[in-house]
Protein backbone atom coordinates (compact mmCIF):
# COMPACT_ATOMS: atom_id res chain seq x y z
CA UNK A 1 0.00 0.00 0.00
CA UNK A 2 2.86 2.34 0.73
CA UNK A 3 4.63 3.97 -2.14
CA UNK A 4 8.27 4.89 -2.17
CA UNK A 5 9.64 8.28 -3.01
CA UNK A 6 13.17 8.89 -4.20
CA UNK A 7 15.73 9.47 -1.51
CA UNK A 8 16.49 13.02 -0.57
CA UNK A 9 18.88 14.96 1.55
CA UNK A 10 17.47 17.67 3.75
CA UNK A 11 19.13 20.77 5.10
CA UNK A 12 19.60 21.56 8.78
CA UNK A 13 16.63 22.60 10.87
CA UNK A 14 15.39 26.12 11.02
CA UNK A 15 14.54 27.83 14.25
CA UNK A 16 14.25 31.17 15.99
CA UNK A 17 17.89 31.09 17.06
CA UNK A 18 19.17 30.30 13.62
CA UNK A 19 19.24 32.30 10.46
CA UNK A 20 16.58 31.33 7.99
CA UNK A 21 17.08 30.92 4.32
CA UNK A 22 14.20 33.24 3.60
CA UNK A 23 11.05 32.36 1.74
CA UNK A 24 12.94 30.62 -0.99
CA UNK A 25 13.42 27.25 0.64
CA UNK A 26 9.85 26.10 0.79
CA UNK A 27 9.32 27.38 -2.73
CA UNK A 28 12.44 25.54 -3.80
CA UNK A 29 11.38 22.32 -2.10
CA UNK A 30 7.84 22.60 -3.33
CA UNK A 31 9.14 23.04 -6.84
CA UNK A 32 11.55 20.15 -6.45
CA UNK A 33 8.80 17.93 -5.10
CA UNK A 34 6.60 18.82 -8.02
CA UNK A 35 9.23 17.64 -10.47
CA UNK A 36 9.86 14.35 -8.72
CA UNK A 37 10.56 14.81 -5.01
CA UNK A 38 14.30 15.02 -5.27
CA UNK A 39 15.93 17.56 -3.03
CA UNK A 40 19.65 17.89 -3.37
CA UNK A 41 21.85 19.24 -0.61
CA UNK A 42 24.43 21.64 -2.01
CA UNK A 43 23.49 25.30 -1.73
CA UNK A 44 20.39 24.63 0.30
CA UNK A 45 22.48 22.91 2.94
CA UNK A 46 24.78 25.88 3.37
CA UNK A 47 21.92 28.31 3.44
CA UNK A 48 20.27 26.47 6.28
CA UNK A 49 21.99 27.35 9.50
CA UNK A 50 24.49 29.79 10.89
CA UNK A 51 25.59 27.23 13.44
CA UNK A 52 26.04 24.52 10.88
CA UNK A 53 28.03 26.80 8.64
CA UNK A 54 30.28 27.83 11.51
CA UNK A 55 30.89 24.25 12.55
CA UNK A 56 31.34 22.94 9.06
CA UNK A 57 29.13 20.12 7.89
CA UNK A 58 26.87 19.17 10.82
CA UNK A 59 26.49 15.45 11.50
CA UNK A 60 23.63 13.95 9.57
CA UNK A 61 22.05 10.52 9.38
CA UNK A 62 20.08 8.56 6.81
CA UNK A 63 16.67 7.49 8.02
CA UNK A 64 13.76 5.63 6.41
CA UNK A 65 10.29 6.19 7.74
CA UNK A 66 6.73 5.99 6.49
CA UNK A 67 4.72 9.19 6.43
CA UNK A 68 1.01 8.85 5.72
CA UNK A 69 1.60 5.55 3.95
CA UNK A 70 4.47 6.78 1.81
CA UNK A 71 7.95 5.45 2.46
CA UNK A 72 10.52 8.24 2.71
CA UNK A 73 14.26 7.88 2.89
CA UNK A 74 16.00 11.09 3.82
CA UNK A 75 19.35 12.20 5.13
CA UNK A 76 18.69 14.62 7.94
CA UNK A 77 20.87 16.91 9.98
CA UNK A 78 20.70 15.20 13.38
CA UNK A 79 19.12 18.31 14.90
CA UNK A 80 16.03 18.15 12.70
CA UNK A 81 12.81 17.64 14.60
CA UNK A 82 10.06 15.52 13.10
CA UNK A 83 8.01 18.72 12.90
CA UNK A 84 10.65 20.48 10.81
CA UNK A 85 11.12 17.40 8.65
CA UNK A 86 7.40 17.40 7.92
CA UNK A 87 6.94 21.12 7.44
CA UNK A 88 10.16 22.28 5.89
CA UNK A 89 11.25 19.26 3.92
CA UNK A 90 8.27 17.06 3.13
CA UNK A 91 5.93 19.99 2.48
CA UNK A 92 3.41 18.72 5.01
CA UNK A 93 2.57 22.00 6.70
CA UNK A 94 -0.62 20.83 8.40
CA UNK A 95 1.24 20.13 11.64
CA UNK A 96 1.83 23.50 13.27
CA UNK A 97 4.70 24.99 15.22
CA UNK A 98 3.28 26.76 18.24
CA UNK A 99 5.68 26.76 21.19
CA UNK A 100 8.30 24.36 19.77
CA UNK A 101 8.78 23.14 23.37
CA UNK A 102 6.12 20.49 23.95
CA UNK A 103 3.75 22.78 25.81
CA UNK A 104 1.02 23.63 23.27
CA UNK A 105 0.26 20.47 21.29
CA UNK A 106 -0.09 22.20 17.89
CA UNK A 107 2.51 19.82 16.45
CA UNK A 108 0.80 16.60 17.60
CA UNK A 109 1.12 13.65 15.21
CA UNK A 110 0.88 9.89 15.61
CA UNK A 111 4.11 7.88 15.64
CA UNK A 112 3.43 4.15 15.47
CA UNK A 113 -0.15 4.92 16.45
CA UNK A 114 0.71 6.98 19.53
CA UNK A 115 0.18 10.71 19.80
CA UNK A 116 3.43 12.60 20.43
CA UNK A 117 4.80 16.14 20.20
CA UNK A 118 6.64 16.17 16.88
CA UNK A 119 8.60 19.27 17.94
CA UNK A 120 10.37 17.23 20.66
CA UNK A 121 10.93 14.20 18.43
CA UNK A 122 14.26 14.02 16.66
CA UNK A 123 13.66 12.81 13.10
CA UNK A 124 16.87 10.82 13.21
CA UNK A 125 15.31 8.49 15.82
CA UNK A 126 12.44 7.43 13.56
CA UNK A 127 14.07 4.63 11.57
CA UNK A 128 11.24 2.32 10.50
CA UNK A 129 8.54 4.40 12.18
CA UNK A 130 5.05 5.01 10.84
CA UNK A 131 4.02 8.63 11.08
CA UNK A 132 0.47 9.88 10.56
CA UNK A 133 -0.18 13.59 10.22
CA UNK A 134 -3.39 15.54 9.72
CA UNK A 135 -2.82 15.19 5.96
CA UNK A 136 -3.00 11.42 6.26
CA UNK A 137 -6.24 11.19 8.20
CA UNK A 138 -8.87 11.46 5.48
CA UNK A 139 -9.56 8.58 3.11
CA UNK A 140 -9.54 10.34 -0.23
CA UNK A 141 -12.37 12.83 -0.13
CA UNK A 142 -13.92 11.25 2.93
CA UNK A 143 -12.94 13.09 6.09
CA UNK A 144 -12.03 11.22 9.25
CA UNK A 145 -15.08 11.25 11.56
CA UNK A 146 -13.28 13.55 14.00
CA UNK A 147 -12.45 16.02 11.23
CA UNK A 148 -16.12 16.03 10.26
CA UNK A 149 -17.14 16.45 13.90
CA UNK A 150 -14.91 19.52 14.25
CA UNK A 151 -16.74 21.06 11.30
CA UNK A 152 -20.18 20.01 12.54
CA UNK A 153 -19.50 21.34 16.03
CA UNK A 154 -17.73 24.47 14.79
CA UNK A 155 -14.87 23.50 17.12
CA UNK A 156 -12.38 26.15 16.03
CA UNK A 157 -12.01 29.82 15.22
CA UNK A 158 -8.56 30.69 13.92
CA UNK A 159 -7.77 27.04 13.23
CA UNK A 160 -4.09 27.11 14.14
CA UNK A 161 -4.35 24.52 16.90
CA UNK A 162 -6.91 22.40 15.01
CA UNK A 163 -4.61 19.87 13.29
CA UNK A 164 -2.95 19.16 16.64
CA UNK A 165 -6.31 19.01 18.42
CA UNK A 166 -7.63 16.52 15.90
CA UNK A 167 -4.55 14.30 15.97
CA UNK A 168 -4.58 14.40 19.76
CA UNK A 169 -8.31 13.64 19.74
CA UNK A 170 -7.71 10.62 17.51
CA UNK A 171 -5.15 9.40 20.05
CA UNK A 172 -7.46 10.16 22.96
CA UNK A 173 -10.30 8.14 21.39
CA UNK A 174 -7.97 5.22 20.60
CA UNK A 175 -6.71 5.22 24.17
CA UNK A 176 -10.28 5.13 25.43
CA UNK A 177 -10.03 8.22 27.61
CA UNK A 178 -13.41 9.52 26.54
CA UNK A 179 -15.73 8.29 29.26
CA UNK A 180 -16.83 11.75 30.36
CA UNK A 181 -16.31 15.37 29.32
CA UNK A 182 -14.05 15.71 32.38
CA UNK A 183 -11.88 12.81 31.27
CA UNK A 184 -11.66 14.18 27.73
CA UNK A 185 -10.64 17.57 29.11
CA UNK A 186 -7.90 16.02 31.21
CA UNK A 187 -6.57 13.85 28.38
CA UNK A 188 -6.74 16.69 25.85
CA UNK A 189 -4.99 19.12 28.19
CA UNK A 190 -1.78 18.96 26.18
CA UNK A 191 -3.50 20.90 23.40
CA UNK A 192 -3.96 24.59 24.00
CA UNK A 193 -6.57 26.61 22.07
CA UNK A 194 -5.99 30.35 22.10
CA UNK A 195 -9.51 30.99 20.82
CA UNK A 196 -11.01 29.08 23.73
CA UNK A 197 -13.04 26.55 21.74
CA UNK A 198 -12.65 23.90 24.41
CA UNK A 199 -16.36 23.22 24.98
CA UNK A 200 -16.88 22.41 21.31
CA UNK A 201 -13.62 20.49 20.99
CA UNK A 202 -14.66 18.28 23.88
CA UNK A 203 -18.06 17.79 22.27
CA UNK A 204 -16.51 16.81 18.93
CA UNK A 205 -14.25 14.23 20.60
CA UNK A 206 -17.10 12.92 22.74
CA UNK A 207 -19.46 12.49 19.79
CA UNK A 208 -16.85 10.83 17.61
CA UNK A 209 -15.97 8.41 20.40
CA UNK A 210 -19.65 7.59 20.92
CA UNK A 211 -20.11 6.75 17.23
CA UNK A 212 -17.23 4.26 17.21
Amino acid sequence: MSSELPESAVPPPTGASESTSGPSRRTFIATSTAVGGVVVAGGTFLAGSEEATAAGAAPSTRVSLTVNGTRRTVTVDNRTSLLDLLREHLDLTGSKKGCNAGACGACTVLVDGQRVNSCLTLAVRLEGAEVTTIEGLAKGDELHPLQQAFIDEDAFQCGYCTPGQIMSGVGCIQEGHTNSPEEIREYMSGNVCRCGCYVKIVRAVEQTAARK
Partner: protein
Protein backbone atom coordinates in the same frame (compact mmCIF):
# COMPACT_ATOMS: atom_id res chain seq x y z
CA UNK B 1 20.69 23.75 18.78
CA UNK B 2 24.32 22.83 18.31
CA UNK B 3 25.36 19.95 16.06
CA UNK B 4 25.74 16.55 17.70
CA UNK B 5 26.63 13.04 16.66
CA UNK B 6 23.87 10.47 16.95
CA UNK B 7 24.20 6.80 17.68
CA UNK B 8 21.63 4.13 18.34
CA UNK B 9 22.53 1.20 20.59
CA UNK B 10 20.90 -2.20 20.79
CA UNK B 11 22.21 -3.59 24.05
CA UNK B 12 23.08 -2.38 27.52
CA UNK B 13 26.71 -3.29 26.79
CA UNK B 14 26.80 -1.05 23.71
CA UNK B 15 25.09 1.74 25.64
CA UNK B 16 27.61 1.59 28.47
CA UNK B 17 30.50 1.65 25.98
CA UNK B 18 29.05 4.77 24.37
CA UNK B 19 28.35 6.26 27.79
CA UNK B 20 31.91 5.70 28.94
CA UNK B 21 33.12 7.69 25.94
CA UNK B 22 30.99 10.61 27.10
CA UNK B 23 27.81 9.98 25.11
CA UNK B 24 24.60 11.39 26.51
CA UNK B 25 21.73 8.91 26.81
CA UNK B 26 18.42 9.86 25.26
CA UNK B 27 15.20 7.99 26.05
CA UNK B 28 11.94 9.92 25.57
CA UNK B 29 13.90 13.09 24.90
CA UNK B 30 11.17 15.40 26.16
CA UNK B 31 13.53 17.27 28.48
CA UNK B 32 16.81 16.80 26.62
CA UNK B 33 15.68 17.91 23.15
CA UNK B 34 13.89 20.90 24.64
CA UNK B 35 17.00 21.99 26.55
CA UNK B 36 19.30 21.30 23.59
CA UNK B 37 17.17 23.64 21.53
CA UNK B 38 17.56 26.30 24.23
CA UNK B 39 21.33 25.54 24.18
CA UNK B 40 21.16 24.79 27.90
CA UNK B 41 22.26 21.25 27.06
CA UNK B 42 25.04 20.85 24.50
CA UNK B 43 25.92 17.16 24.22
CA UNK B 44 28.47 16.24 21.57
CA UNK B 45 27.09 12.74 21.19
CA UNK B 46 23.55 11.58 21.81
CA UNK B 47 23.10 7.86 22.45
CA UNK B 48 19.64 6.55 21.67
CA UNK B 49 18.82 3.85 24.24
CA UNK B 50 15.17 3.35 23.33
CA UNK B 51 15.83 -0.16 21.95
CA UNK B 52 17.23 -1.50 25.23
CA UNK B 53 15.27 -4.22 27.05
CA UNK B 54 14.37 -2.11 30.08
CA UNK B 55 10.61 -2.06 29.60
CA UNK B 56 9.32 -4.54 32.16
CA UNK B 57 7.16 -3.89 35.20
CA UNK B 58 7.56 -6.79 37.60
CA UNK B 59 6.33 -7.67 41.05
CA UNK B 60 9.28 -8.36 43.35
CA UNK B 61 9.47 -11.38 45.63
CA UNK B 62 8.82 -9.36 48.77
CA UNK B 63 5.69 -7.72 47.41
CA UNK B 64 7.18 -4.58 45.92
CA UNK B 65 7.36 -3.54 42.30
CA UNK B 66 10.22 -2.92 39.88
CA UNK B 67 9.74 -0.60 36.92
CA UNK B 68 12.19 -0.67 34.02
CA UNK B 69 13.86 2.63 33.16
CA UNK B 70 12.42 2.70 29.64
CA UNK B 71 8.78 2.07 30.57
CA UNK B 72 6.86 5.04 29.16
CA UNK B 73 4.96 7.13 31.71
CA UNK B 74 1.70 6.33 29.90
CA UNK B 75 2.31 2.58 30.33
CA UNK B 76 3.37 2.81 33.97
CA UNK B 77 0.43 4.98 34.99
CA UNK B 78 -2.02 2.50 33.48
CA UNK B 79 -0.31 -0.59 34.89
CA UNK B 80 -2.76 -2.66 36.96
CA UNK B 81 -0.08 -3.81 39.43
CA UNK B 82 1.15 -0.29 40.11
CA UNK B 83 -2.42 0.97 40.47
CA UNK B 84 -3.37 -1.72 42.93
CA UNK B 85 -0.16 -1.66 45.00
CA UNK B 86 0.76 2.04 44.91
CA UNK B 87 -2.00 4.30 43.58
CA UNK B 88 0.06 7.27 44.79
CA UNK B 89 2.82 6.41 42.29
CA UNK B 90 0.42 5.75 39.40
CA UNK B 91 -1.37 9.04 40.05
CA UNK B 92 1.89 10.98 40.27
CA UNK B 93 2.60 9.93 36.67
CA UNK B 94 -0.44 11.79 35.37
CA UNK B 95 1.01 15.27 35.59
CA UNK B 96 2.24 15.73 32.04
CA UNK B 97 0.15 15.85 28.87
CA UNK B 98 -0.88 12.61 27.17
CA UNK B 99 1.58 13.27 24.33
CA UNK B 100 4.49 13.73 26.72
CA UNK B 101 3.51 10.66 28.73
CA UNK B 102 3.64 8.57 25.55
CA UNK B 103 7.19 9.74 24.94
CA UNK B 104 8.72 10.22 28.39
CA UNK B 105 10.14 7.30 30.37
CA UNK B 106 10.51 6.43 34.05
CA UNK B 107 14.30 6.82 33.94
CA UNK B 108 14.04 10.12 32.10
CA UNK B 109 11.40 11.36 34.51
CA UNK B 110 13.74 11.15 37.46
CA UNK B 111 16.58 12.68 35.39
CA UNK B 112 14.46 15.64 34.28
CA UNK B 113 15.85 19.05 35.01
CA UNK B 114 14.29 22.02 36.73
CA UNK B 115 11.75 24.29 35.04
CA UNK B 116 13.31 27.39 36.63
CA UNK B 117 12.99 30.03 33.89
CA UNK B 118 16.42 31.46 34.69
CA UNK B 119 17.97 28.03 34.20
CA UNK B 120 16.28 27.75 30.82
CA UNK B 121 17.31 31.27 29.76
CA UNK B 122 20.97 31.19 28.73
CA UNK B 123 21.24 34.98 29.09
CA UNK B 124 20.39 34.82 32.83
CA UNK B 125 22.78 34.11 35.70
CA UNK B 126 22.38 30.55 36.88
CA UNK B 127 24.77 28.54 39.03
CA UNK B 128 23.17 25.30 37.93
CA UNK B 129 23.80 25.97 34.24
CA UNK B 130 26.92 28.10 34.58
CA UNK B 131 28.57 27.51 37.99
CA UNK B 132 29.75 30.70 39.65
CA UNK B 133 27.58 33.04 37.58
CA UNK B 134 25.10 33.66 40.40
CA UNK B 135 21.42 32.93 40.91
CA UNK B 136 18.99 35.27 39.18
CA UNK B 137 16.05 33.69 40.99
CA UNK B 138 17.15 34.64 44.51
CA UNK B 139 16.29 38.28 43.90
CA UNK B 140 14.28 37.86 40.73
CA UNK B 141 10.76 36.61 40.18
CA UNK B 142 10.71 33.56 42.41
CA UNK B 143 7.02 32.73 42.82
CA UNK B 144 7.56 29.15 41.65
CA UNK B 145 10.77 28.51 43.54
CA UNK B 146 11.69 26.47 46.58
CA UNK B 147 10.90 27.27 50.20
CA UNK B 148 12.76 24.15 51.36
CA UNK B 149 16.17 22.71 50.56
CA UNK B 150 17.52 25.81 48.85
CA UNK B 151 20.93 27.42 49.27
CA UNK B 152 22.52 30.77 48.51
CA UNK B 153 23.47 29.24 45.17
CA UNK B 154 20.19 27.80 43.94
CA UNK B 155 16.49 27.68 44.82
CA UNK B 156 15.20 25.84 41.75
CA UNK B 157 12.39 23.35 42.34
CA UNK B 158 12.66 19.74 41.24
CA UNK B 159 9.88 19.28 38.70
CA UNK B 160 9.03 15.57 38.88
CA UNK B 161 5.80 14.41 40.54
CA UNK B 162 6.74 10.75 40.24
CA UNK B 163 9.93 11.44 42.20
CA UNK B 164 7.79 12.74 45.05
CA UNK B 165 5.95 9.42 45.24
CA UNK B 166 9.26 7.51 45.02
CA UNK B 167 10.61 9.63 47.86
CA UNK B 168 7.57 9.03 50.04
CA UNK B 169 7.66 5.27 49.39
CA UNK B 170 11.44 5.07 49.92
CA UNK B 171 12.18 3.59 46.52
CA UNK B 172 15.52 2.37 45.22
CA UNK B 173 17.28 3.31 41.97
CA UNK B 174 19.17 0.58 40.12
CA UNK B 175 22.16 1.68 38.07
CA UNK B 176 24.75 -0.01 35.91
CA UNK B 177 28.23 1.43 35.41
CA UNK B 178 30.36 1.26 32.24
CA UNK B 179 32.53 -1.43 33.87
CA UNK B 180 29.38 -3.54 34.17
CA UNK B 181 29.06 -3.16 37.94
CA UNK B 182 25.54 -2.71 39.21
CA UNK B 183 24.66 -0.64 42.22
CA UNK B 184 21.47 0.40 43.93
CA UNK B 185 20.90 3.41 46.06
CA UNK B 186 18.00 4.82 48.06
CA UNK B 187 16.07 7.33 46.03
CA UNK B 188 16.62 9.87 48.80
CA UNK B 189 20.36 9.69 48.03
CA UNK B 190 19.91 9.79 44.25
CA UNK B 191 18.74 13.37 43.89
CA UNK B 192 21.08 15.95 45.37
CA UNK B 193 20.28 19.20 47.13
CA UNK B 194 22.00 22.16 45.46
CA UNK B 195 24.29 23.24 48.33
CA UNK B 196 27.28 24.94 46.74
CA UNK B 197 27.24 22.64 43.69
CA UNK B 198 23.80 23.04 42.09
CA UNK B 199 25.20 21.79 38.79
CA UNK B 200 25.36 18.32 40.35
CA UNK B 201 21.78 17.11 40.48
CA UNK B 202 22.01 13.34 40.63
CA UNK B 203 24.27 10.88 42.34
CA UNK B 204 25.27 9.34 39.04
CA UNK B 205 28.67 8.83 37.44
CA UNK B 206 29.71 9.30 33.85
CA UNK B 207 28.27 6.61 31.65
CA UNK B 208 26.12 5.11 34.37
CA UNK B 209 22.76 3.93 33.15
CA UNK B 210 19.55 3.81 35.16
CA UNK B 211 18.09 0.35 34.63
CA UNK B 212 15.07 0.41 36.96
CA UNK B 213 13.40 1.94 39.98
CA UNK B 214 12.03 -0.31 42.68
CA UNK B 215 9.35 0.43 45.23
CA UNK B 216 9.76 -1.79 48.31
CA UNK B 217 7.04 -3.84 49.91
CA UNK B 218 5.08 -1.99 52.56
CA UNK B 219 2.70 -3.34 55.19
CA UNK B 220 -0.79 -4.10 53.88
CA UNK B 221 -3.44 -2.83 53.64
CA UNK B 222 -1.90 0.38 52.40
CA UNK B 223 -3.99 3.40 51.46
CA UNK B 224 -2.24 5.94 49.24
CA UNK B 225 -2.91 8.88 46.93
CA UNK B 226 -1.26 11.93 45.34
CA UNK B 227 -2.55 15.49 45.41
CA UNK B 228 -1.14 18.24 43.22
CA UNK B 229 -2.07 21.90 43.49
CA UNK B 230 -1.33 24.01 40.42
CA UNK B 231 -2.33 27.24 38.72
CA UNK B 232 -4.68 25.45 36.33
CA UNK B 233 -6.65 22.26 36.57
CA UNK B 234 -4.38 20.03 34.52
CA UNK B 235 -1.06 19.85 32.67
CA UNK B 236 0.92 22.26 34.76
CA UNK B 237 3.84 22.05 37.13
CA UNK B 238 2.86 21.88 40.78
CA UNK B 239 2.94 24.74 43.26
CA UNK B 240 2.61 22.23 46.07
CA UNK B 241 1.90 18.52 46.10
CA UNK B 242 1.65 15.72 48.62
CA UNK B 243 2.26 11.99 48.31
CA UNK B 244 0.71 10.11 51.22
CA UNK B 245 0.59 6.40 52.10
CA UNK B 246 -0.87 5.11 55.36
CA UNK B 247 -1.11 1.70 56.96
CA UNK B 248 -3.83 1.70 59.61
CA UNK B 249 -4.57 -1.36 61.74
CA UNK B 250 -6.78 -1.62 64.80
CA UNK B 251 -7.71 2.05 64.44
CA UNK B 252 -4.08 3.13 64.83
CA UNK B 253 -1.69 4.47 62.17
CA UNK B 254 1.16 1.93 62.10
CA UNK B 255 3.06 3.24 59.09
CA UNK B 256 3.08 6.62 57.35
CA UNK B 257 4.98 7.61 54.20
CA UNK B 258 4.71 11.27 53.27
CA UNK B 259 6.58 13.57 50.88
CA UNK B 260 5.96 16.94 49.26
CA UNK B 261 6.69 18.35 45.80
CA UNK B 262 6.64 21.73 44.09
CA UNK B 263 8.13 23.40 47.15
CA UNK B 264 11.68 22.12 47.43
CA UNK B 265 14.91 21.69 45.50
CA UNK B 266 14.47 17.93 45.71
CA UNK B 267 11.34 15.89 46.49
CA UNK B 268 10.87 16.60 50.18
CA UNK B 269 10.49 13.72 52.60
CA UNK B 270 8.28 14.84 55.50
CA UNK B 271 9.81 12.73 58.26
CA UNK B 272 8.48 14.97 61.05
CA UNK B 273 4.96 14.59 59.67
CA UNK B 274 5.39 10.81 59.53
CA UNK B 275 6.61 10.71 63.13
CA UNK B 276 3.64 12.79 64.28
CA UNK B 277 1.25 10.27 62.68
CA UNK B 278 2.69 6.92 63.69
CA UNK B 279 1.02 5.41 66.75
CA UNK B 280 -1.87 7.88 66.66
CA UNK B 281 -5.56 7.46 65.94
CA UNK B 282 -6.87 9.27 62.84
CA UNK B 283 -8.69 12.52 63.60
CA UNK B 284 -9.06 15.99 62.12
CA UNK B 285 -6.94 17.32 64.95
CA UNK B 286 -4.18 14.84 64.11
CA UNK B 287 -4.12 15.72 60.38
CA UNK B 288 -3.75 19.42 61.18
CA UNK B 289 -1.16 18.89 63.89
CA UNK B 290 0.95 16.54 61.75
CA UNK B 291 0.70 18.77 58.66
CA UNK B 292 2.00 21.75 60.61
CA UNK B 293 5.40 20.02 60.62
CA UNK B 294 5.48 20.01 56.79
CA UNK B 295 6.93 23.51 56.77
CA UNK B 296 9.58 22.96 59.43
CA UNK B 297 12.64 24.91 58.31
CA UNK B 298 10.85 26.65 55.42
CA UNK B 299 12.62 29.73 54.06
CA UNK B 300 10.27 31.54 51.71
CA UNK B 301 11.50 34.05 49.14
CA UNK B 302 10.00 37.38 48.14
CA UNK B 303 7.28 36.05 45.84
CA UNK B 304 6.52 32.60 47.23
CA UNK B 305 5.43 33.19 50.84
CA UNK B 306 2.06 31.75 49.93
CA UNK B 307 3.68 28.34 49.52
CA UNK B 308 4.17 27.99 53.28
CA UNK B 309 0.44 28.01 54.01
CA UNK B 310 -0.35 26.24 50.74
CA UNK B 311 1.98 23.35 51.58
CA UNK B 312 0.56 22.96 55.08
CA UNK B 313 -3.01 22.86 53.76
CA UNK B 314 -2.11 20.55 50.86
CA UNK B 315 -0.56 18.03 53.24
CA UNK B 316 -3.41 18.32 55.75
CA UNK B 317 -6.02 17.81 53.06
CA UNK B 318 -4.23 14.80 51.62
CA UNK B 319 -3.68 13.21 55.03
CA UNK B 320 -7.40 13.51 55.66
CA UNK B 321 -8.31 12.23 52.17
CA UNK B 322 -6.11 9.15 52.52
CA UNK B 323 -6.94 8.67 56.19
CA UNK B 324 -10.66 8.58 55.44
CA UNK B 325 -10.36 6.15 52.50
CA UNK B 326 -12.08 2.81 53.00
Amino acid sequence: MYPFAYTRVNSVREALDAGRRGGRYIAGGTTLVDLMRETVETPETVVDISALPLRDITATAGGGIRIGALVPMSVATADPKLNSLYPVAAQALRGASAQLRNMATIGGNIMQRTRCTYFRDVTADCNKRDPGSGCAALHGYNRGHAILGGSDHCVAVHASDFAVALTALEATVHLQAPDGKERSLPFADFLLRPGSTPQREQNIRQGELITAVEIPALPRPLKSAYLKIRDRQSYSFGLASAAVALHVRGGVIREAKVAAGGVATVPWKLSAVERALIGERPSDRLWAEAASHAVDGARPLQHNRFKVELLKRTVERQLRTVGEME
